[in-house]
């Protein structure tokens, strides 16, 4: 067999790749046939409910479970984060931390059992004011979180006897003194939660010494080691399954401590266990994204090109006290001179976990707002200021791409028609309109992925890959790639994913999955096909290089009469199926995938200055992504990302009670998310010149979820002429900012 050269089919030859293909499991999802972890009921299962700590910071002194154990139907009371009798108290640092679990015959009985637990707490002082740097310093709740400085070489170097910091300070001040425009501002974005609609959890059982877990996870292939570590067994004794997952967004990579508790309870009771978080717990402990607040000073030349950036930001990622990573400040833009510093705030909250495009949406929302304020100060067009500052960005090779994307976006939102200077638009009653921009970047390198592909002598095709479908359409993409490569209809291939017993495939995080499975499935299919071509070549007495697979047959290029049907070709395999396992390792140089995308988003909003309500009129997303795999699901990713941006920009925020630290809006009636009527008109544009196609597959999940917040915040500022500093831009915050501006 000749060595296989991996490649994608040319555009005009693609039947499926790059086309609009409906997801294969759409009907199952729409009619309830798709079984999620929460939907799996095992015979004789017990349902577990856990008591969440009602205090943000306390010590749990003791638990009296006697009354709970008396409730008919309660089978076991299990301590999670609580002391056994005689043990030292356990310190709790976050509202909602799971203390005690009750396993019972039904959900209702478990809940009744919980209500009978008697727990003694010792309350400790809590701190949750993540926006208040001074208060945090006074309470010794801060932690250095990095920083740095870079000054243009032309400014020279400090002399040996200079104090370096003083010299730098002097240079920074000189740069500001030379600037034509200086903008000082503060901006912020609150903590939000992942709020997966399917809460975290599992339905599991022990089969002898083997743990079989149905887990709502983004990491099918690699949560087994988490269980193994905690339960002192080996990873080969754990099977993890997840056919469908109801949302993850970066929060479902591990078994989590309640998952370990489920396995322990199953062991103790000898019964299958279903243990999923309640809604309240999902919001409190299922995952959150760190907040960010910033003091910025920037200086620009007469053209509005920023020459110096100086910022200090802070925020919280919970009790481990980190904040948004400092490396991306200012976001995308990179003036020649910058100084930046970050401080983590230690609050009594759950530690944050990865959230779709970790750090980027916050960095974008609290730095590109300062660039827009420069436009406001200059009374210039924001679009011009963004375009001019493309001369100083962190990936200079992308500046032309951004420029083109900004022009496309401006056309789509009709920028020239609707633009007015900040605060100078026409007023219709109390309503004013405005436009705003944000730009973003992302890597999106394909993750490692292996695929076992079997071709049966009767023509059947099945694949196995331990990946997962978060809703991005992974399953459909696997099938598209196989069907395209083998020249078969998509229904002819049977794709199997979602089990750790299948070949390894990396976790779905960081926009790595479509690249990963495209790599592994294309490779496996090309290799299988090469083997099949050898057999067919012999039979037809033609060279294998002359063969092609299309329309359900293998034929000689240019001689369609010289062909074998797929079935006839497969009958040449012999009695055993043809099997190939492809292996793709993240970072391997490959013609099939690459990384690094740009993108811009624009928003047009209406603000009611009497009530503070902001409405989205229209949003536009322009996005490059290399080779588009499934146009339909790719478009959905971007629509969804825009809507998530609207959520964080206008609606959602974790609210902690300042006195008790309690997370007070942890239900969906007060943790606000946008509804169907809140999203305005959304326009998605794939930026795909031929050069993009040649780059191969690049992940798409994160990038469009980044710059919408900045775009909306800037549009509100453009509408009102007033900066509402902190996202979400709730009616109260809008009104407060308007009042403050009036003086």
């Amino acid at each position: 067999m000749a060595e296989v050269t991996y490649s994608w089919p040319e555009n005009h030859k693609s039947r499926l790749i790059g086309k609009r293909v409906s997801r294969l499991d759409g009907m199952e999802k729409s009619t309830g046939a798709a079984k999620y972890t929460y939907d799996i009921n095992l015979p004789k299962q017990l349902v577990v409910r856990a008591l969440g700590c009602p205090h943000a910071h306390c010590r749990v002194i003791s638990v009296d479970a006697s009354a709970a154990e008396e409730v008919p139907g309660v089978v076991l009371v299990h301590l999670i984060k609580a002391p056994k009798p005689g043990d030292d108290p356990v310190e709790i640092r976050a509202d909602g931390t799971l203390l005690v679990a009750v396993a019972a015959e039904t959900e209702a009985i478990a809940a009744e059992g919980l209500s009978k637990l008697k727990v003694k707490y010792e309350l400790l002082e809590s701190f949750v004011a993540d926006h208040d740097l001074q208060a945090a310093e006074a309470k010794k709740r801060t932690k250095k979180a990095g920083g740095g400085i870079e000054l243009d070489e032309a400014l020279g170097e400090p002399d040996d006897d200079d104090d370096e910091e003083e010299w730098e300070e002097q240079k920074v001040q000189e740069l500001f003194a030379q600037s034509t425009y200086v903008v000082e501002g503060n901006y912020g974005i609150d903590t939000i939660t992942h709020c997966c609609l399917e809460p975290h959890g599992s339905t599991l059982h022990w089969d002898g010494d083997r743990l079989k877990v149905n887990l709502s996870t983004q990491n099918v292939s690699r949560t087994d080691d988490g269980y193994a570590d905690a339960l002192k067994i080996s990873a080969d004794e754990v099977d993890v399954h997840c056919e469908y997952i109801g949302g993850g967004f970066g929060s479902k990579f591990k078994p989590d401590y309640w998952g370990i508790a489920a396995a322990e309870i199953a062991k103790k009771t000898g019964r299958p266990i279903k243990f999923l978080l309640t809604r309240n717990q999902e919001l409190k402990i299922g995952g959150n994204r760190p907040s960010g607040f910033i003091d910025v000073k920037l200086g620009a030349d007469e053209n509005g090109v920023v020459q110096v950036w100086d910022s200090h930001h802070w925020g919280t990622s919970g009790f481990n006290g980190s904040t948004v990573s400092v490396g991306n400040f200012p976001y995308v833009f990179r003036p020649k001179n910058w100084r930046r510093r970050a401080t983590g705030i230690i609050t009594d909250n759950e530690p944050s976990v990865a959230w779709r495009a970790p750090n980027h949406p916050q960095a974008c929302a609290i730095t590109q707002t300062a660039y827009d304020d420069l436009a406001a100060k200059m009374q210039a067009d924001s679009l011009d200021i963004f375009l001019r500052n493309l001369e100083n960005i962190d990936s200079p090779e992308k500046s032309l791409v951004y420029a083109e994307q900004l022009r496309i976006g401006a056309d789509l939102i009709d920028w020239r028609k609707h633009w007015h200077l900040h605060g100078k638009g026409k007023r219709r009653g109390s309503v004013v309109e405005g436009l705003g921009i944000g730009i973003h970047k992302w890597g999106g390198t394909a993750n490692s992925s292996n695929c076992l592909l079997k071709i049966h002598p009767d023509g059947g095709v099945e694949s196995y890959c331990g990946t997962q479908d978060l809703g991005t359409g992974t399953r459909t993409i696997c099938a598209m790639v196989l069907a395209e490569t083998l020249g078969l209809p998509i229904e002819a291939v049977k794709v199997n994913i979602g089990s750790s017993t299948y070949p390894f495939s990396g976790a779905s995080g960081g926009s790595t999955t479509v690249g990963a499975v495209s790599e592994s499935h294309r490779r496996a299919a090309q290799e299988v096909l090469a083997q099949l071509f050898d057999l067919v070549a012999k039979k037809l007495e033609v060279p294998a290089e002359k063969l092609e697979a299309s329309s359900g047959s293998i034929s000689v290029v240019g001689y369609s009469d010289k062909s074998l049907s797929w079935k006839q070709a497969c009958s040449l395999i012999g009695i055993q199926p043809l099997e190939v396992t492809s292996i793709y390792k993240r970072g391997d140089d490959s013609p099939l995938s690459s990384s690094n995308v740009a993108g811009c988003q624009m928003a047009r909003v209406a603000v009611d200055t009497d009530t503070g309500v902001v409405k989205i009129i229209k949003m536009v997303a322009v996005q490059d992504m290399g080779l588009v795999m499934n146009r339909k699901t790719a478009e959905s990713q971007i629509y969804g990302a825009l809507i998530m941006s609207i959520a964080a920009a206008l609606f959602e925020q974790r609210i902690n009670d300042p006195k008790t630290g309690a997370f007070i809006n942890s239900e969906l009636d007060n943790y606000r998310l946008p509804r169907l009527g809140d999203t305005g008109e959304l326009v998605v544009h794939f930026h795909e010149p031929e050069s993009e196609r040649a780059r191969g597959v690049i992940g798409l999940g994160e990038p469009p979820a980044i710059s919408g917040g900045a775009a909306i915040a800037n549009a509100v500022c453009n509408a009102t002429g007033v900066r509402v500093p902190t996202l979400p831009l709730t009616p109260k915050r809008v009104l407060d900012a308007l009042r403050t501006a009036k003086g």
Binding site: R23, G26, M27, K35, N41, C195, T611, K615, R675
Partner: protein
């Protein structure tokens, strides 16, 4: 705050409905902030008696939390004759205590369930009938993920007591395989993770039954009882528009 309507077809709050669509708003219109004040007061009446007496008419206005207090709780409903401990609470009502058997007509089939006063319709569907399309996302109903039809009307199975639907006809997403709504959802990719999708499919069915010729503005105003975290609203909107056009 986000509030929900037991009966879909309207939006989850009037305030929101008014401010939903810019296109409808005349020049001098003032938006009403949707998160000010309570427009759904019944959600905040946390009724917590040990037993409960309920008439058919009031069943939509009470919180289920009151029923979670214990299996001995009692409930009286006009449609159920309890074989165990019935006592007259008021004319036309019976009191049900402890576990009892009821029959519900689900997707055309009469099914029997063992329920306590605190058992919700959602519990019965998911744990006794293995109909897991309706999802337990927010037990207060604010996500709409447990939407089913009872007698043709959209209700949240998570806020509906099983006893209240004894003898009634319940339709779940599982029976909509041949309906145009799921096909339109597939065609317009109105689903990502899909966890909200069954609830949305049923809500759309109920909405279209009531407003078969809905305009885009009506669709935007009328489907606000459900939450999708993945952000499929744009696709759902397209799906519903296509369904109206198909009519």
């Amino acid at each position: 705050m986000n509030c929900h309507a037991q009966e879909r077809g309207g939006s989850h709050s009037d305030a929101r409905k008014l401010s939903t669509c810019l296109n409808l708003i005349p020049d001098s219109y003032t938006f009403i902030p949707a998160d000010w004040g309570s427009c759904c007061a019944h959600l905040f009446h946390r009724l917590e008696p040990d037993g409960f007496i309920m008439s058919q008419q009031s069943s939509q206005g009470v919180s289920r939390r009151g029923f979670l207090k214990g299996s001995g709780a009692a409930v009286a409903v006009s449609t159920v004759v309890s074989s165990t401990e019935a006592e007259a609470a008021a004319p036309g009502l019976q009191v049900v205590n402890g576990e009892t058997s009821i029959t519900i007509k689900v997707n055309g089939k009469s099914l029997t369930a063992k329920v306590e006063p605190r058992t919700t319709l959602l519990d019965v569907l998911r744990y006794q009938f293995d109909l897991t399309g309706a999802k337990p996302v927010s037990l207060d109903g604010s996500s709409g993920a447990s939407t089913v039809l009872v007698g043709g009307k959209a209700v949240m199975a998570s806020t509906t007591l099983a006893l209240a639907v004894a003898g009634k006809e319940v339709t779940t997403c599982e029976s909509l395989g041949g309906d145009a709504v799921p096909s339109a959802f597939v065609e317009h990719d109105a689903q990502q993770c899909g966890f909200c999708t069954p609830g949305f499919v049923v809500a759309v069915r109920a909405f279209l039954n009531k407003y078969p010729n809905a305009t885009e503005e009506q669709i935007r105003a009328g489907l606000n009882g459900n939450i999708c975290r993945c952000g499929t609203y744009a696709n759902i909107l397209q799906a519903v528009i296509s369904l109206v056009k198909g009519n």
